[in-house]
């Protein structure tokens, strides 16, 4: 790829970026969130039309007008959010876009080929399972098989380890190793330095849409890559002073919650969070974290069990009751559940206080009051918006998150539930969000933090609960002193008690 430029309304995601891939190598594409890694690869995959530059394949210039062309040229991509059809089976997903199959599907044939491939690359899947029933790790295997089935020669993996347990990640690298040995070229997008150092032959670093450098992995160090990636040195280390937890603020007992499909997403879960405490929730995405948070703030009914806030039973109370009791929620889905995309900054800032004084006066909204409140939020939380009249749909992820934090944390909450609060943010914004959450802990709030980033959980949490398939695998009292392997096993479904039992007997 030569001098690729891609602009979106208002941002230049790639600016004259060069990138090349050789057969048989693992080429890591490294950069902070928002650096333009996914965009660059989506251009290669034909999903985005570049505004400048050209793509060469074995020396010949290509014009990909859609993924169909790129796939025909042997390029396959596994997106960060897998491109699968949840309602269809694995084998049906496997043949999507496969034009050379006959119109009447040779089901037996297809299934045999899937099993062959999955055997050969150690990617175990059940061809007849429906995709929505699969764990994220299994879905990823389906997505990779999908590309192998299509006999791609170049495989692009967009942040493939973000959703895997450490053990699953290692397995994935075994598969990648085998594929490169057979001559595949693999592009591996990541912002995790350790993986990049361990598993790639060359690294290309992007920063703010521009190419920083392409280097051989052997010839560089983790520190130098970090500096290239971030520009100046930003210290992510945060300081979490030891604190004695106070009384229990948020608690659930034997909680059972149904997911969207009517099956239990949380099974008989009991947890509690105390004042001055961060309870981390670890687990692979989709193991009940979302449903748990929703049940704890009144957005989803509890099928069984109880939710107790500061000693008061609030099981299945309305979201408004939870808000009144100062339980605040920072949802993962910023523009859906968190903010109203088409409303402006100032309207969004008062979504939880519109009905009470001083904003509401005799049933009317005092817009002067609103504007002054919005200005306070914007300045205190460093929201970078052209004005408080800008619709939030035009804000970047980091600013959306700051605005939401501002709204939720301005009320001196008793409990804060934050779901993936730093997902997709750059280092500076990540640091800010983490500091704000820790400031709440210091103030005396109980903080529940759901994240997929194990490093984040380890540095933030006083205690760490691990979920798998909606069940509690155990709560670690000193997560930062627990081996990562143990947490990985728990995420994969082994209860803590069992792991400890095995250690004692060994």
């Amino acid at each position: 790829m030569e001098r690729i430029t891609k602009r979106f309304a208002g941002v230049t995601a790639n600016w004259a970026v060069d990138f090349d891939l050789r057969a048989g190598e693992v080429h890591a594409l490294l950069g902070e969130n928002g650096a333009g890694k996914s965009t660059l690869m989506n251009v290669l995959y034909g999903l985005y039309q570049p505004d400048g530059g050209r793509i060469l394949l074995s020396g010949r210039e290509q014009a990909f007008s859609s993924p169909r062309d790129a796939r025909a040229a042997g390029i396959g991509m596994v997106h960060q959010h897998f491109m699968l059809i949840p309602s269809q089976t694995v084998w049906e997903n496997m043949i999507l876009g496969h034009e050379d199959l006959p119109s009447i599907l040779p089901k037996k044939d297809v299934r045999r080929r899937i099993l062959d491939l999955s055997d050969r690359y150690g990617l175990a899947v059940d061809p007849d399972a429906k995709v929505w029933q699969l764990s994220v790790g299994e879905q990823q295997r389906v997505a990779i098989l999908q590309m192998l089935f299509r006999s791609a020669r170049v495989l692009i993996l967009d942040e493939p380890t973000a959703v895997l347990t450490p053990q699953e990640a290692r397995q994935l690298f075994d598969t990648i190793g085998q594929m490169t040995a057979e001559g595949y070229g693999v592009v591996f997008i990541s912002h995790k330095l350790d993986e990049v150092m361990a598993f790639s032959q060359r690294v290309t670093v992007l920063r703010k849409g521009r190419l920083v450098a392409t280097v051989a992995t052997e010839a560089t160090t983790k520190e130098r890559l970090a500096e290239m990636m971030v520009g100046e040195k930003v210290v992510l280390e945060i300081d979490r002073p030891a604190m004695a937890p106070g009384r229990t603020i948020l608690e659930c007992r034997d909680l059972r919650v149904l997911g969207d499909r009517g099956f239990p997403a949380i099974r008989d879960l009991s947890l509690s969070v105390r004042e001055h405490e961060v309870l981390g929730i670890a687990g692979v995405a989709g193991n009940g974290q979302q449903e748990l948070c929703e049940a704890l703030v009144g957005l989803r009914t509890a099928d069984r069990g109880r939710v107790i806030v500061d000693g008061e039973d609030l099981t299945n109370a309305s979201p408004r009751t939870f808000i009144r009791k100062k339980v605040h929620y920072i949802p993962a889905d910023r523009k859906g559940t968190g903010l109203v995309a088409n409303m402006d900054v100032k309207e969004n800032s008062i979504l939880k206080r519109y009905s009470a004084r001083p904003v509401s006066k005799g049933g009317f909204i005092d817009w002067k009051e609103v504007a002054s409140f919005a200005r306070t939020v914007v300045s205190r939380f460093g929201v970078n918006a052209p004005s408080t009249e800008t619709p939030v749909r035009n804000l970047s992820g980091g600013n959306l998150q700051k605005l939401m934090l501002g709204r939720e944390l301005s009320d001196s909450p008793k409990a804060v539930l934050a779901m993936h609060p730093t997902w997709g943010l750059d280092v500076a914004a990540t640091k800010f969000v983490r500091e704000q959450l820790l400031a709440q802990r210091e103030r005396g709030a109980a903080v529940l933090l759901v994240s997929e980033d194990l490093d984040e959980l380890l540095s933030m949490s006083d205690r760490l609960a691990v979920l798998c398939k909606g069940e509690l695998m155990g709560v670690l009292d000193a997560p930062d002193r627990t081996p990562v392997e143990t947490i990985g096993l728990m995420m994969a479904g082994t209860p803590l008690a069992e792991i400890e039992g095995a250690e004692v007997s060994a």
Binding site: L47, R68, H79, M83, I85, G97, E99, Q146
Partner: protein, 309 residues
């Protein structure tokens, strides 16, 4: 048993236009496009089908013309909702209004005309089965066409590559696109074919069922079909059940009226519509409890490739 035969036969016959419309709309909705223009498209199909059948003397040419007129309306809907990404509800309602008005205007001169319609073709052997033979296998070919279509669609959705792609586009256009399937092409094709089938339902009404044209003769069947699509959970086999149920209610109330009951006619005529509301009510409750799935996940939403969701 024997007294039931005429009512059941009438149920099948009056359910057939609804069945066609439901099958057509299921096709369109499965690819992710909501077309609320059914009522208008049925009327246009009935009107164009009847006039071509009348002036050419060939009923089949009428049916073919109806299909084409329907497909053109589908094309219009696709241009508005796929290419220009307009609001599909508004576009559908506009098509209904246009179809209602246009068919009334164009059909004015044909009021009172009749045609011989389509000949009955009893299916050999099958029509000799007691009761069922008379009810199901003693009709014209256009009615049998709906049986063929049901079987075809059941097979098409589950066992063919185009059927699989169609469902993929309706469930997750972003993924389908990333897999190299053209979202727009699929949506155009099935919106047009679906609307064509809806129009054939209308043509059945004028060419076969009544053998005449009357203004607003579809009398809400298009809307009933919209409800039946949900009732059938986008499954063509269940659509049969729903369509004949409604056909049955209609046949039954007509019988009662003819028999001269003391129940006022307007009350009887309300029955199919009351039942539609009842069915939707039950579905809404069950959906609330999370029992019903099957709606194409991207139904009614336009697709933009380079936009984030």
């Amino acid at each position: 048993m024997e007294i039931l035969v005429p009512i059941l036969t009438a149920a099948v016959r009056s359910g057939t236009p609804i069945l066609y419309a439901t099958l057509g709309e299921i096709l369109t909705e499965k690819v992710g496009v909501l077309n609320l223009g059914l009522e208008g498209i049925m009327l246009l199909g009935a009107c164009s089908g009847f006039s071509v059948a009348y002036f050419t003397g060939n009923a089949w040419l009428g049916v073919g013309a109806a299909f084409l007129v329907g497909a053109v309306m589908g094309l219009l809907h696709a241009i508005l909702s796929v290419t220009f990404k307009g609001n599909q509800v508004v576009s559908g309602l506009a098509i209904t209004m246009f179809g209602t008005g246009a068919s009334s205007l164009l059909g004015r001169t044909m009021v009172g005309f009749t045609i011989p319609g389509l000949p009955k073709v009893p299916v050999p052997y099958l029509s000799d089965i007691p009761v069922l033979g008379k009810v199901l296998f003693d009709h014209d070919l256009l009615l049998y066409g709906s049986y063929v279509l049901v079987l075809f669609f059941c097979w098409f959705y589950s066992s063919t590559r185009p059927g699989l792609y169609l469902r993929a586009v309706g469930d997750n256009p972003r993924a389908a696109d990333a897999m190299g399937i053209s979202v727009d092409k699929n949506r155009y094709l099935y919106t047009m074919v679906g609307a064509g089938i809806v129009a054939v339902g209308g043509a059945y009404l004028s060419v076969s069922y009544t053998k005449m044209w009357a203004e607003l003769m579809s009398s809400g069947r298009g809307w009933i079909a919209v409800a039946l699509v949900i009732f059938s959970i986008w499954n063509p086999a269940r659509a049969v059940l729903g369509a004949y149920l409604f056909g049955g209610v209609e046949a039954f109330q007509l019988r009662l009226q003819a028999a001269g009951t003391t129940i006022p006619a307007p009350i009887l005529m309300m029955l199919p519509y009351v039942m539609t509301i009842a069915v939707l009510f039950v579905i809404a409750i069950r959906q609330g409890k999370g029992i019903i799935f099957g709606a194409p996940a991207a139904l009614g939403t336009p697709f933009y490739r380079e936009e984030r969701d």
